[in-house]
């Protein structure tokens, strides 16, 4: 039985991995977070700065967990700038998990959205034939290719990097590459995480072909446990009812792919 913590526990950053010039992975020891289900997240406290919802990255060593961050705003940059030996707080895990179907599955991710998808890959059934599509702008932003191949070494699989400028792998948006692939390959399920516009396209494509699809969503989160309401989308709380939602629900959502809430709760367009 998974134990869920609502109070931050301090962990020491044991290792920092440079993934790209703007993305780093921070490794900690946390037996509870090491085994979270794909789609679940933790609230990560950067003392004195902020607390952010983050998916837990797969680390091969037992009892280890990690967070992968791209430096962007004040808080993500503060996390990115931490060093080995620095302290962060963690609480969780929270949220639901992907429902892994049998057969041929596609994982479609962009940027740090790959984190929950690699955990899904780790939980894949031995019989799953897994295709991972990783989207990025250019070659120097491609990461997790080796990690994906390693996690899936015992599965039939392929890892396809897609770059918008064509400097590496397939040229184009990950959604276009998926659309092309789906013309010849019959997928039993598609899972996606990344920028919401990308996920929206993936869900639309899967729904139009009648393929089971799930997306792991991100919203402004404060409590992470279904109290504050900051992350509400339509009638659901993304932290508590999600973060994983299926294509049928998302197809009927007024907000998915269109709007998200600001810190005040006002709806803003994507």
């Amino acid at each position: 039985m998974q134990s869920v913590s609502k109070t931050p526990s301090i962990r020491i950053i044991e290792k920092v991995i440079d993934e790209t010039p703007t993305v780093r992975t921070f490794v900690i020891s946390d037996a509870n977070l090491a085994d979270v289900l794909p789609g679940q997240f933790a609230m990560v406290w950067i003392p004195g700065v902020n607390e952010l919802p983050m998916s837990v990255m797969v680390i091969p060593e037992k009892g280890k967990a990690a967070f992968t961050v791209r430096k962007r705003g004040v808080s993500s940059t503060a996390l990115y700038d931490l060093k080995a030996g620095d302290q962060i707080g963690v609480r969780g895990p929270y949220g639901n998990a992907f429902d892994i179907k049998d057969g041929k599955i596609a994982l479609v991710g962009g940027g740090t959205g790959l984190v929950p998808l690699l955990r899904l890959a780790k939980f894949a059934k031995p019989t799953n034939d897994v295709t991972i599509l990783m989207g990025s702008k250019s070659k120097d932003e491609v990461f997790f290719e080796d990690a994906a191949n390693q996690i899936l070494q015992n599965n039939k699989h392929q890892v396809i990097a897609c770059t918008e400028d064509g400097s590496y792998g397939e040229k184009g948006f990950v959604t276009d590459v998926l659309a092309k692939l789906a013309q010849t390959t019959k997928f039993d399920a598609i899972y996606t995480c990344g920028p919401e516009i990308m996920m929206h396209k993936v869900v639309q494509l899967a729904n139009s072909k009648g393929i089971f699809v799930q997306a792991s969503l991100e919203r402004m989160m404060k409590c992470g446990i279904g109290i504050c309401g900051s992350c509400c989308m339509d009638e659901v709380m993304v932290c508590h009812d999600g973060t994983v939602f299926d294509g049928e629900f998302l197809a009927n959502s007024k907000e998915f792919g269109h709007t998200h809430r600001a810190k005040s709760g006002i709806l803003e367009n994507y």
């Binding site: 700065v49 707080g89 404060k222 409590c223 309401g229 509400c232």
Partner: protein, 302 residues
Amino acid sequence: MTPDLSVSIGPISLGRPAMLASGILGISMEVFNRIYRNGAGAVVSKSLSKEPWEGYANPTIVGIKGGYLNAVGLSNPGAPYFAEMIKPNKDVPIIVSLVGSIEDEFEFMVKQFENCNVTAYELNLSCPHVEKVGLEVGDDPKLVTKIVSRVKSVAKAPVIGKVGLGTTNYLDTVKAAIDGGADAITAINTIRAMGIDVETQRPILSHKIGGLSGPAIKPVAVRCVYEIASKYDIPVIGCGGISSWEDALEFIFAGASAVQVGSAVGDRWIDVFSEINDGIANYMKKKGYSKMSEMVGLAKRF
């Protein structure tokens, strides 16, 4: 015979006794609908201010032994935005919580809701972690009377004052609200509190001091409801650490006409409302009560 779970709180009538407390989940109409369908008697909005507020940086809410600490900072989309959002509302009993520093702000906010279906206004006189509003207003009885009477003069719906434990005797705040014409009192808000992380030696909340909610404050809240109901002739809504039907009944016996549930949503999720309804209904059957009002204040006879 099925017991009647409807309640009257002065002029306010609700079909069921437990409402969603202010500050919890309350920013979208779709969520209000869902909570009402799941058994809440009414939903109280997050406290709305004249302008939108972003609130404080995280951590804003953390669990601790016995409950939760929070200093969200009253983040809210502002009364005008919220009023526009609830305009389509037909059947969900929405109690609009308002927060401000002076009576003019409250008047401005109430006027935003002229074309909305509002069950009541609840004036936040007790948030313990934002300056110049909430508890700082509640600690000034003269200001409380001015604000309540101004709101009463412009509001078409009943007016509730929500009190908490500040530096002024909260019973004086209750009296001030009654003098201003309040129709009911909600007691209590979270209690000013803090938590420190031992490893980093830092306050956990970004705002350092926040409010304590959950089971830890329930006995304090029961005592306050009992004191208010014993001293004044005004309907009381009990709030503070309620997470089961037994907790809800404790407040009813202390003198509350209805209750509000907040933090328990973090432990029991929104099923907590139907659990409370079912538990109270079973208790009433077992004990032979047919109406909620028969049970209000029963502990006062001892």
